[in-house]
Amino acid sequence: MMSEMVKLDAHGEMLLQQYRELRPTLQKLSDEAYDLLSRALREQGIYITAMEHRVKTEKSLTGKLELKGAKYKSIDDITDLVGLRVITFYTDEVDKVAAIAKRVFDIDWKESVDKRKLHQLDSFGYNSLHFICRLKTGGPRFELQMRTALQHVWSTIEHDTGYKGDVKIPREYKRQFSRLAGMMELIDDEFSRLRMVLTDYRRQMLALVKNGKLTDVPLSAETFRSYLELHPFDRLNKRIAAVNQAEIWPVSVMSYLPVLESFGLETLGDVQQFIDENCDEAYQLALSQLAITDLDILSSNTALQYLCIVYVLKHDGGRDGLKSLYDLINGESDANGMLADLMMEQAKTLPFMR
C-alpha cells in the first residue's frame, strides 16, 4: 500500500482514512455525474471525442497529501477526488460543454479556473477549462475538465514527459513544449475557423438550391443530397410507373452521383438541364421495355437510370458506353456486357437513335 511507502503525518493519515470511508460514495458520484452530463450532451447534439471519469486512486491521493496535505482541513477541501473530463473536437465546443455543465451541476465559481485565460500574452501552455461542481442534489464536490482533443494530446504528452520528477527539465526543452502549445492553439483555432467557413458555405449552397438558383451550385454529395429533397426525378418516375401501374420502391439515388460526375456535369443546373433534355427519351425507352412485361414494382432510381442510358446513347457512347455505365452502376462485371447488348437492342427502334 502506498501509504506504507510514503510517510504521512497524522493529519495526512486522518484525511486518507476519511477518503477510504468516502470511497463508495465517490464511486457512485463519479458514475452519476458521468451519466447526467453524457445524457445532457447527447440531448443537445454535442458530438465529443471522448468523456472519461474516475475516482482518484489512494496512491495518487497519498502523493498529493505528502506534498500539500497541510493545505486541506478535511477531505471535503480536496475537490478532485472525483474527476470528469470531456474532450471535444473544436475549441468553441469547450464553451458549449461548459454551458451545459452549468445547467446540469452547481458550479463552485471561487474554485473553478479557465486555464485558457491564465496565460500571459507571450506564453503558451496547458489550456483547459476546469469547473469544480456539485450535483444539484448535494454531496461532495468534483472536478470537471473540458478541453479540445489537441489540448488533450499536448497536456498528456507534456505531463508524461515533464512531471516524472526524477530530473529537472532544462529551460530550453520547456520552451520547446511552449512552442508546440502555441502551434496547437493555432491549429485548434484554424480547425474551428475552417468549420465555420464550411458551415457558412453549406448554408449558402442549400439556400441557392432552395431558391432554385441551381446553376450557381457546384455538384457535390452534399448539394446533390439537398437537391434530392426537391424530388427532381419524381415526375419521370411516376410517368414510368404509370406504364404498369407500378409501385415505386424507395432506394438511395446517391450511388448515381459518380455517374453524373463522369458525364462532366459540374453544377446542379447541369443536372437539371440533363433531366430536362433527356426525360422524354428516357420515358420512351422505359416504356419500350416495361410495356411488354407485367412488372409492377420499380426502384426510385429507375428514372435516373434511364436518363443516364439515354444520355450515353445520345452522346454516341454506344454499346461500350453502356457497358461502362453499367460497370459504374452495378460494379464491373462481364454480365454488364449482356445488359448493354439488351439495351442497345431495345433502344435502336426509338426515334432519338435514328
Binding site: 407500378a246 407485367d294 412488372l295 426502384s299 426510385s300 429507375t302 452495378n330 454480365a335 445488359l339 439488351l342
Partner: protein, 100 residues
C-alpha cells in the same frame, strides 16, 4: 418452384429452382420466410436454376434484403441467368443487391 435452405461455409444459402412467377410467389415466400430471421450470417440466394422472376418475386427478395440490412447483414445473389438479370436491371434494382 423448389426452395432449399442450407448452411454452407457459415452462410445461409437459399437454393431456388424453377420459375418464381406470380402463381408461385406465395408458396416461395413461405419457404423463404426463415431468411428473415437470420442474424449474424450472410445470406446467399442461389439463382443458378431460377428461370424467371416476377414482381412478386422481386418483392420477396427486397423484403429479405431489408430485414438483413436492418441487422447489418448482406444478401448476395448468385448465378442469375440473363433473363432474371434483365428484370433486376429494367426495374432499377440491379445496384441494390450484391451479385456474386
Amino acid at each position: 418452384m423448389n426452395v432449399k435452405i442450407e448452411e454452407i461455409d457459415g452462410n445461409i444459402v437459399a437454393i431456388l429452382e424453377g420459375s418464381l412467377d406470380t402463381a408461385a410467389a406465395a408458396e416461395t415466400e413461405k419457404a423463404m420466410n426463415p431468411l428473415n430471421d437470420v442474424e449474424g450470417k450472410d445470406i446467399i440466394i442461389d439463382c443458378t436454376d431460377l428461370a424467371y422472376i416476377s414482381s412478386a418475386g422481386l418483392r420477396i427478395f427486397l423484403g429479405i434484403l431489408q430485414s438483413a440490412q436492418s441487422k447489418g447483414g448482406h444478401v448476395y445473389i448468385k448465378g442469375i441467368n440473363d433473363t432474371v438479370r434483365s428484370v433486376f436491371t429494367i426495374t432499377g434494382f440491379s445496384n441494390i443487391f450484391e451479385f456474386k
